[in-house]
Amino acid sequence: MTHFSAFSLLKNALGGHKNWDKQWPDSEPKSEYDVIIVGAGGHGLGAAYYLAKEHGITNVAVIEKGWLGGGNTGRNTTIIRSNYLYDESAGLFDHALDLWQNLSRELNYNIMYSNRGVMMLAHNVHDVQSFKRHIHANRLNGVDNQWLTKEEAKEYCPPLNISPDARYPVMGAALQKRAGTARHDAVAWGYARQAAMRGVDIIQNCPVTAIRRGPDGVVEGVETARGFIKAKKVAVSAAGHTSVLMDSAGIRMPLESYPLQALVSEPVKPIFPCVVMSNTVHAYISQSDKGELVIGSGTDQYTSYSQRGGLPLIEHTVAAICEVFPIFNRMRMLRKWGGIVDVTPDRSAILGKTPAKGLYVNCGWGTGGFKATPGAAHVLAWTVAKDEPHKLNAPFTLERFRTGRLIDEAAAAAVAH
């Protein structure tokens, strides 16, 4: 496969861009693998890459029911940050944030990681107090996050209206400068290309219909639309469809699947320099490199697998954005879409072993797992390769819902994905 560089770009430009190699082959399934990963999102593809690169395990297939990156990886609003409240979350998300910094170079693929900063607006005394507490907690964990006065916030994000007459006055903001955005598709493509280069099979358009366990309960492989495929180990990384798959292995999950929607405006010239969230007014906004305003908020209220969601939520989201940024109230929206996100009762992920030997699960990332992609993929590969969790994902067990040792980020995360 071609190494991407200024030189290869120039060479192919001269050839009219007709001679680029395929980035990865569309593999047919073999009859047996050491590891099968179900779900070719960023997490699954990344795990395949780290299995091959860091653990020398290359007899691996990533099996995807649609096209790779077509799930939540290709549907999210790409906010990356690590300023979570609890020690466990801060550890895992900050590990991911470290990996993001150098990922383009590592994958030889421009994932367009941009440290543009993520700002959370404080609109009332409660916001101010809880954000300040949050910032101190982050600092104790070595996670960057800083308090801005409203004037400083305006300086960082000029479209902000800090007038005291605003419907929801801005009293200050928390800013994580190292946070930002990345090109979501490129993350899936970059990992897919590097994994395939190391011998991983990426099998698309092949739904896994069930996970097969032997009489002793040990995993034997997966049933698919193209027949049974044997595997020593199976890792499920299927976001909104995880509980359906785990049910087939006889394991009931503490998960509910909700539609999460987002929308983009028509493209305009650069106006919006960072990501801004308002948990209180309940929406967030950034501007993509193409010029579209990227807008989102919380999930729909009901569980669903429809990848669609309802219009009342879109109305609510756009109304919230217009309250905070009246300058955008005449922008036209181009399109909206939905993804199905898997939500746990404590709003933290489940990443580790399961009661079935040889079966691993990575799920529960809900509305906010894009930012975790490199970190989750990295520790999932570790867990599968060594049959024991990495210290960063050790607290994120399925067991915690029995022991009560929850990682209760619910209040900390709110609308902020």
């Binding site: 699947s257 009901y302 009342p312 029995r402």
Partner: protein, 100 residues
């Protein structure tokens, strides 16, 4: 937008009148002292998360404010039926037959 039939008001109304209230027919433990950790986990946290017909609770929050139950297909988001709280689970086979 979902149109939802409130079995108390006997009217079909738009989604913003209603609040979703999670899976239906999950009974509170009769004798909580006797529950094992596994049973607590199942009661508190494990959900069916059905892909297809799903028994669920809704509340007519901006109307009569009462809780009622529904069967909704989570793939199409289409309601198969709604019924009053306390009524037995409707028979799925019959409901699906009625849809044909």
């Amino acid at each position: 937008m979902l149109l939802i039939h409130c079995p108390y008001c006997d009217e079909t109304l738009p989604e913003p009148e209603f609040a979703y209230a999670g899976e239906a027919h999950i009974d509170r433990p009769a004798d909580p002292q006797q529950l094992s950790d596994e049973e607590w986990r199942d009661f508190l946290f494990i959900r069916t998360n059905a892909k297809g017909p799903h028994y669920e609770r809704w509340r007519h929050i901006n109307g009569c404010a009462r809780f009622f139950n529904a069967v909704r297909d989570t793939v199409s988001d289409k309601f198969l039926t709604t019924y009053k709280a306390g009524e037995a689970r409707p028979d799925l086979a019959k409901l699906l037959e009625g849809q044909k």
